[in-house]
């Protein structure tokens, strides 16, 4: 906490009177001018829309038709609708699976890669590390496009497994989009985990080796406790990024077939812009804001501590 919150650079230097006096500045009005652009933008395009969405969710606003022009507050009507909307609850579960699957896949593969790469031959490190990082850098639309091509009938997956005309994407849509998401986030996890692993003092590992600790004991008793904050931060970031990963799934399946991959951002978009229920779409968006805020607050607690 203190590392972030302390006034870095303005700490008075002992014995330097001029500096001490000058640095003990009172609040300067020009600071306000410096902060205004950033906080003005955040207020107008983040805080106000967030508050406005709370109100919109409780109205009967539509995209077209009479209630697009003349709309108003309808109280808890949308909430009642949401309570009995099975598609919403399905979407919530789908989102949960998508996020949980992505977290497990990204963290396990990302950590595994990071630790294997440390022991690998240099050329292996360059090639494999490079491929995984390229997959991470690829914009979500491109990743979605190439995964769609690879998993649809007659695509790469069919050719490589010998099941030529199997449409993997239609047969196991949620699994495939989750794999695509894991594929596109592992590189980030690998880099972060790799940096954290290199920060583990080698003396600790050496001491454990001398004490005849098994690899599993070394992992559980030394590596894991030291990696804990990093792992938690990665888990939360993957959760947040997956929650909002509209592009990847929209390109691959548009939420289908049926509602198989209809995670919350897609359902919100569908309600607002396909079925024209802007208000209901906004309400679903609010549910996402609540979920994201929970992850976000946990993330701040972890990030601010380190």
């Amino acid at each position: 906490m203190t590392a972030i919150l302390s006034d870095a650079g303005t700490a008075p230097h002992v014995g330097d009177l001029w500096k001490t006096r000058h640095d003990k500045t009172r609040f300067q009005w020009s600071s306000l001018a410096l902060l205004t652009p950033a906080f003005g933008l955040l207020a107008v395009l983040f805080l106000i829309p967030m508050g406005y969405a709370v109100y919109l969710g409780l109205t009967n606003l539509t995209l077209v038709g009479p209630t697009a022009i003349k709309w108003g507050f309808t109280g808890t009507q949308n909430l009642v609708r949401m309570k009995s909307d099975t598609e919403f609850w399905t979407s919530l579960w789908t989102t949960g699976f998508f996020i949980a699957g992505s977290i497990v896949g990204v963290v396990v593969i990302g950590y595994g890669l990071a630790s294997l790469l440390m022991r690998a031959r240099p050329w292996m490190r360059i090639i494999v590390g490079g491929i995984v990082v390229i997959a991470w850098m690829m914009p979500a639309v491109t990743a979605g496009m190439t995964w769609y091509a690879s998993t649809t009938g007659g695509g790469t997956f069919g050719t490589l497994t010998g099941l030529h005309n199997t449409n993997f994407l239609d047969n196991a849509p949620l699994l495939i989009v989750t794999l695509a998401n894991i594929w596109s986030m592992t590189g980030f996890c690998m880099l972060v985990m790799g940096a954290a692993l290199r920060n583990i003092p080698s003396e600790a590992i050496e001491a454990a080796v001398v004490e005849n600790a098994s690899p599993w004991q070394r992992f559980r008793l030394i590596v894991l406790p030291l990696m804990r904050p990093t792992i938690i931060a990665v888990v939360l970031l993957v959760a947040l990024l997956s929650l909002a990963n509209f592009s990847l799934i929209y390109i691959m399946t548009q939420g289908g077939p049926g509602t198989a991959t209809n995670i919350l951002p897609l359902y919100s978009y569908e309600q607002a812009f396909t079925f024209n229920n802007l208000a209901y779409g906004a309400l679903i968006g609010n549910v996402m804001v609540i979920i994201a805020s929970i992850f976000g607050v946990l993330y701040v607690r972890i990030a601010a501590r380190s």
Partner: protein, 301 residues
């Protein structure tokens, strides 16, 4: 790519030793044979994972240079005709729109960001702690989920076009940029600034002549983040840009799938062209981070 180099420096020595097949201490516990076997296993497993990761990219690479491309992977009928096709007409125009969108968004976020980062780093401001926590919070939470209320606001003011969309995209990368730039500005020694202050330099002059040049790696990295963020954004332009002629490249890419005749080769070629700036910029920012700061000799004691 250069990013992979991140995994190279600073390896603990005993792990490097294992990679070379040399025994790790204590030697009696680790016969060379088993180390060699382990090294073989490690490299085989890694190779397998590498193949799994490259498999989905194969189509992109092969179909882009194949004049008879399909969804399948096959030996290409080599030709660059796909690239020629996608770099003309409305597809090229969409790439141009993406450049405008990303440049405007990056400029706004970086300028607003550097002001805020500077005052967080150097000034005494009320509620600094809570404000910084708010910045950190919004750097983690994807602000694109605000797109429906923003749509309603923009629709009311007739803002459903390129420039306002760029402004909204700048807000989605702003918190992280502020956070990143603040950390870099924190590392700039205060002495430079005080020397400039003695010479009666104004705050704006100090920012422009002292802070920005010295914290350039951080500012550039933040700007690259903002650019890539706006460049790759799909849902925001999809909802917020109503005019067909203002659509950026991700929307054009999606439109390929809605056409009656699917142009496989063109999709692959356009996807690759769309990726290139991102790869180049990430590589550049990895280099920036590796170079770090060379400020040590700047202040005479």
């Amino acid at each position: 790519m250069t990013t992979h180099v991140d995994t190279t420096p600073g390896n603990p020595p005993e792990l490097n030793a294992a990679a070379d097949g040399a025994p790790v201490l204590p030697p009696e516990n680790r016969p060379t044979q088993s180390t060699a076997l382990r090294s073989l296993t490690t490299n085989t497993v890694l190779g397998g994972i590498g193949l799994l990761f490259i498999a989905p990219m194969l189509w992109l690479l092969l179909a882009s240079i194949d004049s008879h491309a399909s969804w399948g992977i096959e030996w290409p009928h080599f030709s660059l005709i796909n690239f020629k096709h996608v770099l003309t007409g409305s597809l090229l125009h969409s790439l141009f729109n993406s450049v405008i969108l990303a440049v405007i968004s990056t400029a706004i976020a970086s300028i607003a960001g550097v002001f805020a980062a500077y005052s967080f780093s150097r000034r005494k401001i009320p509620f600094k702690g809570p404000l910084l926590l708010f910045i950190l919070f919004s750097s983690g939470v994807p602000l694109t989920i605000m797109v429906i209320p923003v749509y309603e606001i923009f629709a009311r003011f007739g803002f459903l076009s390129l420039f306002p969309t760029a402004v909204f995209l700048s807000v989605t990368s702003l918190p992280f940029e502020v956070y990143l730039m603040k950390n870099f500005i924190d590392a700039v020694p205060i002495d430079f600034e005080e020397a400039a202050r003695m010479e009666q330099a104004s705050t704006l002059q100090i920012l422009r002549r002292v802070i920005v040049p010295l914290a350039m790696p951080g500012i550039a990295a933040a700007a690259i983040f903002g650019f890539v963020n706006a460049w790759g954004s799909f849902i925001v332009p999809l909802i917020l840009i109503s005019s067909n002629t203002q659509q950026p490249a991700p929307i054009a890419l999606y439109t390929f799938l809605t056409l009656p005749k699917v142009e496989f080769g063109n999709i692959a070629a356009y996807s690759l062209v769309f990726c290139i700036p991102v790869f180049v910029l990430y590589a550049a920012s990895a280099r920036l981070f590796r170079e770090g700061f060379v400020l040590g000799g700047g202040v005479k004691g």
